[in-house]
């Protein structure tokens, strides 16, 4: 746009009031054609077009006062942007309202964030304390290290619950310790008990089968000291038997399983179980297991990932016996199946050893 500005009307007059426009935006005008009539302090003056062109815009409506030098009318075309060396870009975005806040934005004035040093922020994030929830005790509300620590203490105190005691406490500690140390791998296998006269209550047979398997693969009937990297295999199988009680998990030990009769084992187990239920079992009766059996299947469940408790290196989980379809000669037969899970510590037991152990165990179990 080229601007035509209100020219000097002579006689020192500095302003004029628009009386009437004779052209409007879009008109093509010739030089000297009448554009607008204005009234000065002295007279009505008709202002002619300075040159030919197309009017883009007129400034001011009748009654408006314009000063000499202010834009009166805009022509189509490039504006005179001066005698500068260089080029001034015009806008492409068109007229826009300019809006701004003098000084800070309202949200900045209202913002009241917690103030804390980076080290204190780090501490708060580690202790999972929200700085927004703390009232700082330092200068100007600065949150201090002590404030964060106190808030963390308060949060812990606010966690309501019952303190674990006794057997449950040792379970929590031992399981966490075992989980942190052992590299557990579990293999699963089934024993087909179709040749058993009465496929129920497999505990004694399981104990005996473990003893058989331990003779085939003694590496699983062993203790391992991971700190000192010492491995000790056992001649004798002292079998820990997991017993569930309302007070938690007890694991009494059935000694020398491989060299005892079924009847003897049965009586031993019954005595241990009774002692556990009566809470009269001496502590030494629950120490020194070389392998553990969890017969959780008497309650419910099929397979599991039982936890190997060091220094032992393996544990057997026995699921519930189920009647399942089995492929016979050319037809489907229904057999009692005992699902087994053998978890071993892969730091010292290989997959091959574990597989051979489980195979020997299943073969022993499947005998009539």
């Amino acid at each position: 746009m080229k601007h035509f500005k209100l020219p000097d009307l002579g006689e020192g007059l500095q302003e004029a009031e628009i009386v009437e426009w004779h052209v409007q935006a879009g008109d093509t005008v010739k030089a000297d054609q009448l554009l607008v009539s204005v009234e000065t302090a002295k007279a009505i003056v008709d202002i002619p077009a300075p040159y030919d062109g197309v009017v883009v815009k007129t400034f001011g409506a009748p009654g408006d006062i314009l000063h000499v030098g202010e834009p009166l009318l805009a022509y189509e075309g490039e504006e005179d942007s001066g005698t500068v060396v260089g080029r001034l870009e015009g806008g492409t975005e068109g007229p826009q309202e300019d809006s701004f806040f003098i000084g800070a934005a309202p949200s900045s004035r209202e913002h009241l964030a917690p103030r804390a040093s980076p080290a204190v922020r780090q501490l708060a994030s580690r202790l999972k304390v929200r700085l927004e929830d703390i009232k700082g005790s330092g200068p100007d509300g600065l949150i201090t290290r002590a404030d964060v620590e106190a808030a963390a203490q308060g949060a812990m105190a606010a966690f309501e619950g019952e303190k674990l005691r006794g057997v449950r406490r040792s379970m929590a500690l031992n399981m966490a310790r075992a989980h942190a140390e052992v590299v557990p791998v579990t293999i699963f296998g089934d024993a087909d008990l179709c040749r058993w006269a009465e496929p129920r209550n497999p505990l004694v047979r399981l104990a005996q089968a473990i003893a058989v398997a331990a003779r085939v693969e003694p590496g699983l009937n062993a203790w391992f000291d991971g700190q000192r990297m010492l491995l000790r295999t056992h001649e004798q199988l002292d079998l820990g038997i997991a017993v569930d009680t309302p007070d938690g998990l007890f694991v009494p030990v059935l000694r020398d399983v491989g060299n005892r009769s079924a009847e003897d084992l049965k009586q031993g187990m019954a005595r241990l179980r009774a002692d556990v239920q009566a809470r009269s079992i001496p502590p030494q009766e629950m120490m020194g297991a070389t392998f553990t059996l969890s017969n959780f299947g008497t309650l419910f469940g099929r397979y599991a990932n039982p936890v190997v408790v060091p220094p032992q290196v393996a544990i057997l989980g026995a699921g519930g016996i189920r009647r399942e379809p089995v492929a016979g000669g050319n037809e489907v037969e229904v057999h009692p199946i005992l699902p087994l899970s053998l978890t071993f510590d892969h730091r010292v037991v290989t997959g091959g050893e574990a597989a051979r152990f489980l195979k020997a165990l299943v073969e022993a179990l499947e005998k009539p």
Binding site: H67, P71, G82, V85, L88, E93, F100, A104
Partner: protein, 328 residues
């Protein structure tokens, strides 16, 4: 009458006319400001309207211009000097630094120096290198000088009127690149803007983009691009470079914890460093990331083919924003 739209240079013209209308002590002087209307047409029509005694064409001699203005101001006039390009300003330095800035102090308040020195500033118009510089930091370093840089027609209008009112010398630097860019509706109501305040152009909570002058243009574009990515940037136009409105900057950076400073001047010794240091003094406890500066390199403005590489661009601002946002 609805508000007409004015470009930044037209807003300067409007403010000059208004000031001359209001106060007959206001005089405009400089090279080609009269008959020619100024190289950028900032003084167009003023000579016709206010006469040759108040709109004075001077010889091509900036040293004299500086001295003349100091003398006029000390004796009660309100001279508004135009320097054609910032690169020509240094000849007047002696008068600005040794006299204008300290006349009040030297005479124990007996004399003051209510002058305004206007100069175009910055690159981006394909002009030679001494027409393209941004040496605002030189003036901001001098105690006793105000340094003001408008970045929109409305701020040019309100700040120039306030600068002319001010009883002490003001260096008023006009971003050449914005002179005719994007005219905006502006009421000629004579309203002054404060000379000691930043302007918050865009409110946001995620980071603070601080800039002034022509770089405001790229900074606002970067903020719009960030908004498309879901990042709400606050944009602050510092506008008054001396004295700095640190309270506004502090309030914003306390809120966002992240700050990028954008200026067209070279980095070393630039005002970005001054602002960053002041913020570290005040808000380090609230910072989530180290403050970043996006500036021109430490070289004279190149010939225009390389200008776009020299000027801080939208991509540079976005990269710096990412750096401060990456700190969790």
């Amino acid at each position: 009458m609805s508000d007409k739209s004015y470009s930044l240079v037209e807003a300067v013209n409007l403010a000059l006319a208004r000031a001359m209308e209001e106060d007959e002590n206001v005089v405009v002087l400089g090279e080609d400001v009269g008959v020619n209307g100024g190289v950028f047409r900032a003084t167009l029509g003023l000579r016709e309207r206010f006469g040759r005694k108040r709109v004075i064409d001077t010889p091509l001699a900036e040293t004299m211009l500086g001295g003349l203005a100091v003398g006029m101001a000390a004796q009660g006039l309100k001279p508004v000097v135009e320097i054609q390009f910032m690169g020509f300003i240094y000849a007047a330095m002696e008068h600005l630094v040794s006299h204008a800035s300290r006349l009040r102090n030297r005479t124990r308040g007996r004399l003051a120096c209510p002058m305004v020195l206007r100069a175009p500033m910055g690159a981006g118009i394909r002009a030679p290198e001494h027409h393209s510089e941004s040496t605002e930091a030189l003036f901001a370093h001098i105690p006793g000088l105000r340094v003001v840089v408008p970045s929109s027609p409305a701020r040019a209008y309100g700040l120039l009127l306030a600068a002319i009112d001010d009883p002490d010398p003001v260096i008023f630097l006009e971003p050449t690149r914005l002179y005719r860019m994007n005219p905006q509706p502006l009421p000629d109501d004579g309203r002054r803007l404060p000379l000691d305040s930043c302007f918050t152009l865009r409110e946001g909570h995620d980071l603070t983009l601080v800039s002034w002058g022509a770089s405001i243009h790229e900074t606002l574009k970067a903020a719009a691009a960030l908004a498309e990515r879901g990042v709400e940037a606050e944009v602050i136009d510092v506008a008054c470079l001396k004295p700095l409105d640190l309270d506004t900057l502090e309030a914003s950076v306390r809120k966002t914890g992240r700050c990028v400073i954008v200026h067209e001047a070279p980095k070393s010794g630039g005002l970005g460093g001054e602002i960053a240091a002041s913020l570290y003094e005040r808000v380090w406890l609230d910072l989530q990331a180290p403050i970043q500066r996006v500036t021109a390199p430490d070289i004279p403005p190149p010939l225009y083919r390389l200008e776009s590489l020299y000027l801080p661009g939208v991509e540079d601002i976005l990269a710096a924003s990412e750096t401060v946002l990456d700190h969790a």
